[in-house]
Symmetry: C2
Subunit: 445 residues, 2 copies
C-alpha cells in the first residue's frame, strides 16, 4: 500500500480529521515531521482540511537550530503552507537542568497557543509506529502499568498522530523515493540516552527474534487500548454511585467489597487521582485492600496528608484534618493579652473577668497551653486526672487537644474556659481577672 | 533478606505448599534448580513438607548428560533426598526436529508421572524472577497478549515456582556464599537462541535504563495477573448465562451487545476455546465484532469449519454442517449397483423398479450426480430449469446440493427420486428398471 493510503486509512479508522477542519502540523525538520507535512499536503484536498505548519526553535545546538528553522521555512514556502515559528532559549530557561523536559513542555505549549491563535482544530505530530514500539519498550523497562504498555494514542484531545501505523522504514523509503530533503537532529545521539539505547541497541536484537516487531507491538497496543477503555468504563460506572466532593471520596462497602481486587484498586486509584491529581503506588493500594479485608474499622495514611478510613459501612478517602498546633505560653506580666490558636486571653488586675485567681499563683509559673498529658485538677475531695475529667464531661476526642488550659508549672489545671474553675478560699490579696474570647463552642467549626 | 526467608515469603504469599504435602523438586543440576533443592531442604522442617527430587536425562550432549545425572545423584545422596531419574533419547525421539520442544514435553510428562507414582502434591521448578523477566520480554516481542505479558505463574495446578521472586544474581550469590557446586548447561549458548539473545544482549542494555528491571517487571506482572483474573471472572460470569454444548455456543444479543468490545471479544475467544481448544486471531475477532455491529443477520467463517452466525436475537458459534460431497457417476453397464453418499441405485433389465427408461437413453451417456448448475427437465409444454423446478417444489436450500439426479450427458434430468420422472412414449424396446434406496425423506437427518 502506498504510504498516503495507509495514513488515510489511519485517519479514517481513528477519526483523526473531519472535513473543513484546520490542522496544525508540527514540523521539526526531521524525517518524520517532513514526511507528515508532505503526506498531509497530498491528502488535504481529499480530506477537505486546511493545513498549517508550526516550527519551534529551541535555540539549542547554536547555529543548527537556526538552519533547521530556515529549512522548514523554505519547505513550507515551496508547498504553499502557512508557517508559524516560535522561539525560546531553552538552555537559559532551564538553567541547564532537564533541558529535554523543559524543551518538550515549551514546545507543547507553543503548539497549543498557536493552534488557539489560528483556530486549528487539531495538532498533528509525526510519531510513527517505530516510536510507539520504542515507547512501549521504554515504559515496560521503567514499569508504568497498562497505560505505559499501550504507549501513546493515535488521538488524544486535539493531538493527532497520522503516522501512527507507519514504520520509520516506510517513512525513509517514502522520502527517498520522492527525493524529499530533511534534516538530521544531531542531538539524537547525545540527549535522549534511554530512547537511543532502545532504538539502536535493543530493537535490532528483538527484530532478530521477530522481524515484524513494529506490527506486532502495534497490534498488541490495540488490544491494550481497548482493555484500558473497558477498565475506565467499568470504574466510571462504579464511581457514579459514590460520593465525590472536592475533598472527600466515599463509597459504600456493600458496593466495593464484592468487586475483584483489581477493580477495587482501580476505583481507589481513580478516586485518589480525582481528589489530588496524583497516583498511589502499588504498595499503598495493597495496603487499602488489606484494610478492606480486615474485620475491623481502621485507617491508613495514603499520600499528601490524605487518609483512607474504613468504618463499618463506608470507605472514605479524605484529607487529614489539619493538626491543631500545640502551644504553651507563660504568663509573665499583668496586665497582658495572649493570643492562642484557641482564643485570646486578657489578664488584668482591675476589672471583672470570666475567672479570678490570687496573684500569688503567678509565682508558681502559670501557662496557657494545650494538654500534654499528666495534667490534673483540684476537686473538693482530692485530685482528678484531666483525662478522666474530660471523659466524664464527654468531650469529643478530636477537641481535647485543642482546648486551652490555664495551668501551673506543676501541671495543676486552674481554669478551662466554660468547663472548670479552681475554687479559691477568698483572700484579701491582689487578684488577677481573666477574660477569654473564643470558647469551646467555636472549636468544632 | 536471606534468600531462604524470601522463598518462604513467596511460598506463603502464593500458598505454594501446605504442611504435610510432598513436593517433587525438578533438578537439572544447573544453578537455579540446585539452589532450589538446597533451599527447600533447609525449609522442609519449618514447612513440614516431604522433599523428593527428580532428574530427567535427555540423552543429549553425549557424556555431559550422564555427568549431570551423576552430579545430581551425588548431591541428593549427600542431602538425604530420595531421587528418581528418568531417561530418554530425545535426539532419536524427535528425529532431530524441534529438539527443545520435544525435550520439554518429555521432561514435563516424566515429572507428572513421577509425581503421580510417589503421590507428590506439588512439582517445584527452579524458575527465577530473571526467567520471568526474559519470558515477558520474549512474549512481548512475539506478541502474545495479556497472558504473555504476565509471563508464567508462581503456581499453576500442581506446578509451583518457589524462586519466583528471587533474581538469578541472588541465586548465584547464595551458591557462592555457601560454596555449593552446580553444573553449567553448555547447550545454553546454542539451542535457546531467542532466550539467550534476550538474556545476554537485550537485558543488559535495559538494565542501564533501569537497574532494578527484574523487580519492576515482577511488580508489573503482579498487576497483570490480577487483571487477567478479573477478566476471566467477568467472562465466566457472562458465559454462565449462555448455552454451551459440545458443538455449539449461543448467546442472546441482548446480553452480548451492551458489553464493551474488549469483553465481547474475550467472551467469543473463550467460547471458541471451549469449543475447539484453539484461539482466534485478532482479525477474526474484529470480524465478529463488525458482524455484531451491522444491522443485518449474517455469518462469517472462523476456523476449523466453525462459523459465527448472527440472527435477529442470537449469536451462534457452531461447526459448519459437513458439506455433502458432490458426485457424478457414469452408468456404464446394466445390471449395476451404484452407491452414492445420497443413496444406492440398482439398474436392471429384468425386474420392476421405481423408474423405467428405454435402454437407448444409455447411448446419450447417463450419470447419477448432484447438481452442478445448468440442468433442465422436459415437461409437457417444453423445458424447465432444474433451479426453477426446485424453487416451485419449495425444496430447502441446504438439501438442493444433496439430491441425487439421473441425467443425460446434455444435462437433461430424467429422474429425481420422489420428485420427478421423465415421461416416455411407450415402446417395445428393452427397458431399464431403476431402484433407489435412501430417499429425500432421509436427507435432513
Amino acid at each position: 500500500m502506498k504510504i498516503e493510503e495507509k495514513v488515510l486509512s489511519t485517519i479514517k479508522r481513528f477519526s483523526l480529521l473531519k472535513p473543513n477542519e484546520t490542522v496544525l502540523c508540527a514540523v521539526s525538520g526531521g524525517p518524520d515531521s517532513i514526511a507528515l507535512l508532505h503526506i498531509l499536503k497530498a491528502l488535504s484536498k481529499r480530506l477537505k482540511v486546511n493545513l498549517h505548519a508550526a516550527h519551534f526553535n529551541h535555540g539549542l545546538r547554536d547555529s543548527e537550530a537556526d538552519e533547521d528553522e530556515n529549512f522548514v521555512k523554505s519547505i513550507c514556502k515551496e508547498l504553499f503552507i502557512p508557517l508559524i515559528v516560535g522561539k525560546e532559549n531553552i538552555k537559559k530557561l532551564s538553567g541547564g537542568k532537564n533541558i529535554e523536559a523543559v524543551a518538550r513542555k515549551e514546545r507543547y505549549s507553543f503548539l497549543q497557543e498557536t493552534a488557539k491563535k489560528i483556530k486549528a482544530d487539531k495538532i498533528a505530530l509525526g510519531h510513527t509506529a517505530s516510536d510507539l514500539c520504542e515507547t512501549v519498550i521504554f515504559n515496560m523497562t521503567k514499569g508504568s502499568g497498562i497505560k505505559g504498555l499501550r504507549g501513546f494514542l493515535p488521538k488524544r484531545k486535539n493531538i493527532i498522530r497520522p503516522l501512527f501505523e507507519v514504520s520509520r522504514e516506510e517513512v525513509e523509503n517514502y522520502l527517498k523515493n520522492h527525493n524529499i530533503p530533511f534534516r538530521i537532529d544531531s542531538s539524537n545521539f547525545n540527549i535522549k540516552f534511554s530512547r537511543n539505547l532502545i532504538r539502536l541497541k535493543v530493537i535490532p536484537y528483538l527484530k532478530k527474534i521477530n522481524p515484524s516487531l513494529e506490527e506486532t507491538i502495534l497490534r498488541e497496543t490495540q488490544t491494550l487500548r481497548e482493555l484500558e477503555e473497558f477498565i475506565t468504563e467499568t470504574v466510571n460506572s462504579i464511581l457514579k454511585n459514590c460520593i465525590l466532593t472536592q475533598n472527600t471520596f466515599s463509597i459504600q462497602l456493600e458496593n466495593l467489597l464484592p468487586l475483584h481486587s483489581f477493580i477495587k484498586k482501580a476505583v481507589i486509584q481513580e478516586a485518589f487521582l480525582k481528589l489530588t491529581g496524583e497516583s498511589l503506588n502499588t504498595k499503598k493500594l495493597s495496603a487499602v485492600i488489606n484494610l478492606l479485608k480486615s474485620h475491623k474499622s481502621g485507617s491508613i495514611d495514603l499520600k499528601n496528608s490524605f487518609k483512607a478510613i474504613k468504618t463499618q459501612d463506608v470507605l472514605i478517602i479524605k484529607k487529614e484534618e489539619k493538626q491543631q498546633v500545640h502551644f504553651k505560653i507563660p504568663i509573665v506580666t499583668i496586665p497582658s493579652e495572649i493570643e492562642t490558636p484557641s482564643g485570646t486571653f486578657k489578664f488584668e488586675n482591675t476589672k471583672d473577668g470570666d475567672f479570678v485567681f490570687p496573684e500569688d499563683e503567678l509565682k508558681k509559673g502559670l501557662f496557657i497551653k494545650t494538654r500534654e498529658g499528666g495534667e490534673w485538677l483540684s476537686l473538693p475531695f482530692g485530685r482528678k486526672k484531666l483525662k478522666k475529667f474530660l471523659n466524664e464531661k464527654k468531650i469529643p476526642f478530636h477537641l481535647r487537644n485543642r482546648i486551652p488550659l490555664l495551668t501551673t508549672d506543676e501541671n495543676e489545671v486552674i481554669w478551662i474556659p466554660g468547663l472548670y474553675k479552681k475554687t479559691y478560699i477568698k483572700e484579701s490579696k491582689r487578684k488577677v481577672f481573666v477574660r477569654y474570647e473564643g470558647g469551646i463552642k467555636d472549636f468544632d467549626k
